[in-house]
């Protein structure tokens, strides 16, 4: 087993170091006919907020070469509806469930944790942060979780915020960090003309070019952080996953590539299990 939360009183052990990234895999039933969930170290859910959130206005996706710009607004029916709908499934799933939580304020976060108290279907929290979240706000959200819940907490750190946030969050009690959320990008939706303002789409950037940016961050930050790091961003092959683990990441999250190759989750999990079997004497 791999321990995602070695400093936590209960811990968060996972059987394989391969997870889906929040937002690409739904809540646990979407891929039932395509992925054997037993290959997953854990289910990381779609982002969930206290209150329902509606989808962003379209377009929500643009393609640039090998890359995607995505902007959903993180729609979800709100925590209560999600728990009602998925609690039973999660109990039966056979892998730990990590709830990815969005919240604008620490009061909101406290309410979220309140609703989760006594909930046995969830084994961990992944906190999502906005791109330019300040250190103060990030710490306040983390504190609100820790005060109001016993669950281990992973924080997913925004791409541009690693320098500012990673160390303070680790020192303030985050059990693990996911590096990183996708970088934010902007693309024109059609050609520029002199008459009208250029229609633009803002979104998160996904694709293989994110991977070298991720590795750069991992190589600098893993040796400097006292907590486990989960790697996320542009991982599209077993070689990519191996490189992350070689740099010291405890696990990897696959993002948009899952939509194209759902079987990659199991393929990578199997290969890494083989590596690990060969390595242990």
């Amino acid at each position: 087993m791999i321990e995602l939360a070695p400093n936590h009183k209960f811990g968060l052990p996972i059987a394989t170091p391969v997870l889906p990234a929040a937002g690409v895999f739904g809540y646990g039933d979407a891929y039932r006919d395509l992925v054997d969930y037993r290959c997953l170290g854990a289910l990381v859910t779609h982002p969930v907020s206290l209150h329902p959130r509606r989808a962003a206005y379209p377009p929500r996706i643009a393609v640039r070469g090998e890359h995607l710009l995505i902007h959903t607004g993180h729609p979800n029916p709100g925590l209560s509806a999600i728990l009602r709908q998925y609690r039973d499934l999660w109990e039966r799933l056979g892998v730990p469930v990590i709830l990815h939580v969005l919240a604008g304020t620490s009061a909101e976060m406290a309410e979220v944790m309140d609703k989760l108290s006594g909930e046995t279907a969830i084994q961990g929290i992944e906190l999502g942060l906005d791109e330019h979240t300040s250190v103060e706000k990030a710490l306040a959200l983390l504190r609100s979780i820790c005060l109001n819940s016993d669950l281990p907490v992973i924080v997913r750190v925004p791409f541009v915020g690693v320098s500012a946030l990673a160390s303070p969050l680790a020192e303030a009690g985050a059990d693990a960090l996911t590096l990183t959320s996708p970088p934010r990008g902007l693309l024109p939706l059609s050609e520029a003309s002199d008459d009208e303002p250029l229609p633009l789409m803002r979104g998160r950037l996904y694709g293989p070019a994110v991977f070298p940016l991720l590795l750069q961050q991992l190589s600098y930050w893993i040796p400097r952080l006292p907590v486990p790091v989960i790697a996320c961003g542009g991982i599209t092959s077993i070689a990519d996953a191996r490189a992350c683990l070689a740099l010291g990441a405890v696990a990897v999250q696959l993002d948009a590539v899952v939509w194209r190759h759902p079987d990659l989750l199991a393929t990578i999990a199997k290969e890494l299990a083989n590596d690990s079997d060969n390595a242990t004497p």
Binding site: M1, I2, A15, T16, P17, G23, V24, F25, G26, D29, A30, Y31, D33, L34, V35, D36, R38, C39, H46, R54, A55, P58, P59, R60, I61, V63, G65, E66, H67, L68, I70, T72, H74, P75, N76, Y206, G207, V250, A256, V258, W259, R260, H261, P262, D263, A266, A269, K270, A273, S276, D277, A279, T280
Partner: protein, 261 residues
């Protein structure tokens, strides 16, 4: 940090039933498209779809344009990546996905389409004893030739410039003499493939002509980006009277009354 996976062997035993392949057979021009034939064991029903991996970062949504016992056809634009396939080569597919058209026990089937979105309706051209197709395009040249359709289909054309058929657009088919308005009372099922912006208007026309249409009397296909096909990405959400729904799992065929706001 070693780890062992107790269920390693068992993984392969679960049926991963939605990952499949089709074999490319042949392609021939059918202007302005190419008609491409694939062999496949369980091709999607009309209005359902497959996600095909043609090498792009997103899989491509394929709606069948014709169904055969041994497979299906799709229509693709010229220059499409299928042109690089060799006959006999297989294509990696996910699916079939979605809720398709229901045309069982229908006698009088009314099909409504904009020409460039027609292809998912083509498998329905002989799905009922009597079929009427109302087909709209900006101008005559953008309509497929009439002889492409089975002679049993009653064809009503609408062109914006009046170059053939009724002069106007689907949106402006309010007049009593418009082919769309005339056909709605006749039909016992309507299946449409148009710009979704038209569906609230279509819902009003249906309400106006049928007073209390039964559920699913008018079924409308929504073509939007569907990256995952299984309800995981939330990119395909559409607004309905019952709240947001996913095109991939709740659709892509919806009851038009879902769009009466």
């Amino acid at each position: 940090m070693g780890f062992h996976c107790p269920s390693l062997v068992a993984w392969n035993m679960v049926s991963m039933s939605k990952h499949t392949t089709a074999v490319f057979r042949e392609a021939h021009p059918e202007p302005p498209f190419w008609r491409v034939r694939f062999e496949m064991v369980n091709p999607p029903r009309p209005g359902c779809f497959l996600l095909a991996d043609f090498g792009a970062p997103l899989r491509e949504v394929l709606f069948p344009a014709a169904l055969h016992t041994e497979g299906f056809d799709v229509l693709v634009p010229p220059g499409h990546p299928v042109q690089r396939l060799l006959p006999g080569e297989s294509v990696d597919l996910l699916g079939p996905f979605g809720r398709g058209f229901q045309t069982e026990q229908v006698e009088r089937l009314l099909l409504v389409a904009e020409a460039q979105l027609l292809s998912p309706l083509l498998p329905l051209l002989e799905a009922a004893p009597m079929v009427t197709l109302v087909l709209a395009a900006p101008t005559r040249a953008l309509l497929p030739p009439a002889q492409r359709f089975p002679p049993s289909v009653e064809l009503h054309l609408i062109t914006q410039d009046g170059s053939v058929g009724y002069a106007g657009t689907l949106e402006t088919c309010h007049n009593a003499d418009s082919p769309l308005l005339e056909a709605i009372p006749w039909a016992d099922r309507l299946c449409a493939s148009c710009d979704p912006a038209f569906y609230p208007k279509l819902a009003r026309m249906v309400r106006q002509q049928r007073l209390n249409p039964p559920p699913n009397f008018a079924q409308v296909l929504i073509q939007v980006a569907m990256p995952c096909g299984v309800g995981a990405c939330e990119i395909c959400r559409v607004q309905t009277v019952n709240g947001e729904r996913r095109a991939c799992t709740d659709g892509p065929v919806f009851d038009v009354l879902d769009f009466v706001f």
